[in-house]
């Protein structure tokens, strides 16, 4: 746990970067500090490992005032990842990753084992061990940066715009991998970004700051998007706040309608009856194993044989239970029929989504 109690930072010359900040970063959570430039987010981050010292108030890591621990001691227990990465150009990848264990005086076997483990954990090919940083791509370098920060297994990590320097595709991949890694290692993380979308994606909680280091709101992404505390927060979240919120809610949150379902062997009469009870002019064909085969229009059924006698139509749009409501909404907007089929694992039919069903969440 990291706690800020009435923390203030004034720089020489009188600018106030942080003003009476109260904030708690719970164990194992990612707290994102976000705000426009000049909002003091990097200053706050750097006060955790004493790269910057507070002018007033108290910063504590696991109950221990950071000002009472010597900076080298304190910092070796706190991982640090920055936008510029700052790998040591004169050391190999393995030596870079081994930095803190080496400072801590681990023996060589233990260091080697840890380096091997980390290179694999962050998804680097084994061949990079003995290369120098400039021989790696930007994305690979940032992975080394993360591995180096994790090396001595610090309980706390500080990340200052760690993925801002790579291109959008690599950034998305690094973000996803980092979230997967975090779900295993459960570090207590302070993460700085100026990008609200990254904040929503990465944060268990988000602290929105305004110029001069004023905390405007501190909440989970969902709370923030549902109920911004003031105009500043609402503005910062942007015009598509509602859509951003939908992106956080999984489709499984909304009950799907059963829909007009018939078995492949059903006849025209049964199909008509089922369609009528759902007041539709089409039916979904689902086999014994629960797999959706496709759908058929009543007026295309030729009277006698079973429904799978005709060529079934493919679904225009399907959504998966894990998809977000934003994806589902997009499907409904594109769909000519205003209906999207929800599928589970192995194409199992789970029901239909309609605009009416989503309206509860969309209100």
């Amino acid at each position: 746990m990291i706690t800020f109690e009435s923390v203030t930072k004034q720089f020489p010359g009188g600018t106030t970067a942080v003003d009476e900040l109260h904030l708690q970063v719970p164990d194992g959570e990612v707290v994102v500090l976000v705000g426009p430039s000049g909002c003091g987010k990097t200053t706050i981050l750097r006060m955790v490992n004493r790269m910057i010292e507070p002018s007033g108030g108290r910063v504590a890591v696991n109950g221990e005032d950071v000002m009472r621990t010597s900076p080298p001691r304190l910092r070796r227990g706190i991982g640090y990842v920055i936008q510029g990465i700052g790998l040591f150009p004169h050391r190999t990848i393995a030596q870079n990753v081994a930095t803190v264990p080496k400072l801590e005086g681990w023996d060589d076997d233990r260091i080697k084992a840890r380096v091997d483990e980390l290179i694999e954990t962050v998804g680097l090919p084994d061949g990079v061990r003995d290369r120098y940083p400039h021989q790696l791509s930007g994305g690979q370098q940032q992975r080394v940066g993360v591995a180096r920060a994790l090396a001595a297994d610090p309980p706390v990590m500080l990340m200052d715009e760690p993925f801002a320097a790579v291109d959008p595709i690599v950034r998305t991949r690094l973000q996803d991998e980092f979230l997967r890694l975090q779900s295993e290692v459960r570090k207590t993380i302070v993460f700085v970004t100026h990008d609200i979308d990254e904040a929503i994606k990465m944060g268990d909680r988000i602290a929105i700051l305004s110029q001069g280091g004023h905390l405007q709101q501190y909440a989970t992404p969902k709370e923030l998007l549902a109920e911004p505390a003031n105009d500043f927060v609402a503005d910062f979240l942007g015009a598509e706040r509602g859509l951003k919120r939908l992106a956080l809610i999984p489709v499984s949150q909304v009950e799907a309608a059963p829909g007009p379902v018939v078995a492949p062997g059903a006849g025209i009469d049964e199909a008509r009856r089922v369609a009528e009870t759902h007041s539709s002019d089409w039916v979904v064909v689902v086999d014994d194993e629960g797999r959706a085969r496709g759908w058929a229009r009543l007026d295309e059924l030729d009277g006698r044989g079973p429904v799978d006698g005709v060529r079934l139509r493919d679904f225009e749009l399907t959504v998966h239970a894990d998809d977000s409501l934003r994806t589902a909404l997009n499907a409904l907007v594109i769909s000519r029929h205003g209906v999207a089929v929800r599928l589970g694992d192995g194409d199992r039919y789970e029901g239909l989504l309609t605009r009416e069903l989503l309206s509860e969440e969309l209100r």
């Binding site: 080298p72 640090y80 920055i82 700052g86 040591f88 004169h90 803190v100």
Partner: protein
């Protein structure tokens, strides 16, 4: 060219060459020993840097022959009279390159080192010096080549070196001696430069293949 003379005087020529080596190596080494702590001080206390450069720059502009002559009453005719001014002349270049080299270390690298929990001393030795090495060695190379040239003048105050061959050649109207002195002096400067460059390459393997 009187090759017979060269053959007869090999021993004397070797003696002057060794003096030349000595009169180059000692001032450069002494200059570095003085310049290094001054550079660290200039980095620690920024305000020192400009006056330090100004002062060593001013010393650099004093004509060498004048400085040698001025020192004769103090240190007499001998190697010390040569070594002191030659050392002083290296300071400007060595201080400037050491400070620029350390300043040139990528701020992100410095920040990362600090945040990893390096102490100030270990950061200097383990991160900043190795990265500043190419610029520092570049300073040593310029200082060395300059000093090799200046040492030829020390013959005038009786300190020896390859300059003796040049001075003697002039006074005796004997061109062979002048040519041998000049050629050896130039060859020595080039060789010293290459040795330092090779040393730097060996110490900075991570730069291999980079422009």
């Amino acid at each position: 060219m009187d090759w017979a003379w060269v053959g007869e005087n090999l021993g004397r020529i070797r003696g002057y060459a060794l003096q030349h080596l000595f009169l180059t190596a000692v001032p450069v080494a002494a200059g570095f020993v003085l310049a290094f702590p001054m550079s660290l001080a200039a980095i620690r206390w920024r305000r020192l840097y400009a006056p330090l450069l100004g002062f060593t720059g001013m010393l650099f502009t004093i004509p060498s022959i004048a400085l040698f002559v001025l020192l004769i009453p103090v240190t007499g005719l001998g190697p010390l009279t040569a070594i002191v001014p030659l050392t002083i002349y290296t300071l400007l270049i060595l201080i400037r390159n050491t400070v620029e080299g350390l300043d040139g270390v990528d701020p992100d690298v410095r920040e990362a080192a600090e945040a990893m929990g390096y102490t100030r001393g270990r950061r200097l030795l383990g991160v900043e010096l190795p990265l500043a090495l190419p610029v520092i060695v570049a300073g040593l190379r310029i200082a060395t080549v300059t000093t090799v040239g200046l040492v030829t003048i020390t013959a005038l105050i009786g300190a020896g070196g390859l300059g003796r061959l040049i001075v003697d050649g002039f006074t005796l109207f004997f061109p062979t001696s002048v040519v041998v002195g000049v050629v050896l002096s130039v060859a020595f400067a080039v060789a010293a430069d290459l040795v330092l460059l090779a040393g730097q390459k060996a110490l900075t393997p991570w730069r291999a293949g980079r422009a």
